[in-house]
Symmetry: C2
Subunit: 244 residues, 2 copies
């Protein structure tokens, strides 16, 4: 094992259920890597993004990570979700290969800004281009390169966080650009933005409920029946608690 | 059109999103039929079950129902969810055939007590055998007949409402009996039972949240990673309001 294979890990936790997107409700262990090329305004995991938290990110080898996953899952294969930060910044190929030989499945959650060959080895590639409310700008060439890296084997989907009409329009355009990709619209949660970096953020459930109603109304009115509309289940269930 | 093709309809509404099971978050129009061979203790749609509501169930022809679905969806094909009551008591085959020719997809939600040939024409057959808390008893021969009627074409899944350990054990046994069927565990909502037939039932979100945490904990502890755990999204979003 060389330094180039070392993965910066913010946290490994589970089994819990996936709270978002196409795998909502599925038991999974999360491997959250540290470091991100984005800084979304409403990011809810700044502890895995900001360089000031770098000291908390443990360098781990694929084998060390796999040992921890197997401890948590009792050696029973399940879905491993690679999240971040942007996990595409980390050399995760060896971990995926190792896990696969032991029967584990893998999904990645990434914004689609960095293409890596190991996308092709995944079961699921959940691509979340960031809408205007994030204050980030999508490089669609980089995004296309991610889809190309993934190739035909993983199931690739779009998952877009929606706060307002501009975000919604962005999602519509993304869907037009990639008509063959299933699209998941995720209700935005403003609590992390309001709370700031170092606060636990209280969940305003009535607000999230109104946002979900609004988004369902938009989709229904526009007859955009190819979209799937979901909240973050873990936020409704566990709030801002880490590691569930 | 003869009387034998007439369908007893409790309500038709949408487009809204499916709140449960494998199609959670998907835009759909619901066709809720009237009449049921079961009377689950915690039923949340007694107005489509109890004979005392029979006068509210409109006899409609397949063509009349399809016209209403097309009005609601603006003629844009989407998923139609056939629910009840027990929709298997109604002659829905002609409606499905008609909708298919116009590009609509169809899912049924049924307890699996009555097998009908039109199951084979569906995209999804969501089978919800009722666990002990319902006070109903499953006839597994009838259930097997439903799967046989469905045949190879629709995607068949199990969806089981869980209130307690006995329900959970029932779900485990059902899953052992049908290892090839994906299984969705749905958090039980005691509000309708507490409220009684004629009351709007207030949603106790904290209680539902605790129930979801409990169920996720059970699945994680038992390493039952093939199960998907979901709440009723529409209950968290719209409470007991009808027609959303």
């Amino acid at each position: 094992m060389t330094a180039k294979d070392t993965i910066r890990v913010s946290e490994i936790f589970g089994p819990t259920i996936q709270g978002e997107g196409p795998l909502i409700g599925r038991p999974t262990v999360f491997v959250r890597t540290g470091g991100c090329d984005y800084r979304c305004r409403w990011c809810d995991t700044l502890y895995a993004v900001l360089p000031s938290h770098r000291g908390e990110w443990l360098p781990m080898t694929p084998s060390e990570i796999m040992t921890r996953i197997e401890e948590l899952s009792g050696g029973m294969p399940l879905l491993v979700t690679l999240s971040g930060g942007n996990p595409a910044l980390q050399p995760l190929g060896a971990l995926i290969d190792l896990g696969r030989t032991r029967g584990y499945g893998f999904a990645v959650e990434t914004q689609g800004s960095v293409a890596v060959p190991w996308f092709a080895a995944l079961d699921w590639v959940v691509l979340s281009p960031k809408a205007p409310s994030s204050a980030m700008t999508t490089d669609w060439n980089a995004f296309d390169a991610c889809l190309e890296s993934a190739g035909p084997n993983p199931r690739c989907v779009l998952k877009i966080v929606i706060f307002d009409d501009a975000d919604y329009d962005f999602a519509r355009q993304a869907s037009t650009r990639y008509p063959s990709l299933p699209i998941y619209l995720q209700v935005g949660n403003p609590a992390p933005l309001k709370a700031g970096e170092f606060c636990e953020w209280p969940v305003d459930e009535a607000d999230l409920r109104r946002r979900l109603q609004w988004l369902v109304g938009k989709v229904a009115q526009d007859r955009w029946f190819a979209a799937t509309v979901l909240p973050q289940l873990h936020v409704l269930t566990w709030g801002s608690k880490r590691g569930v």
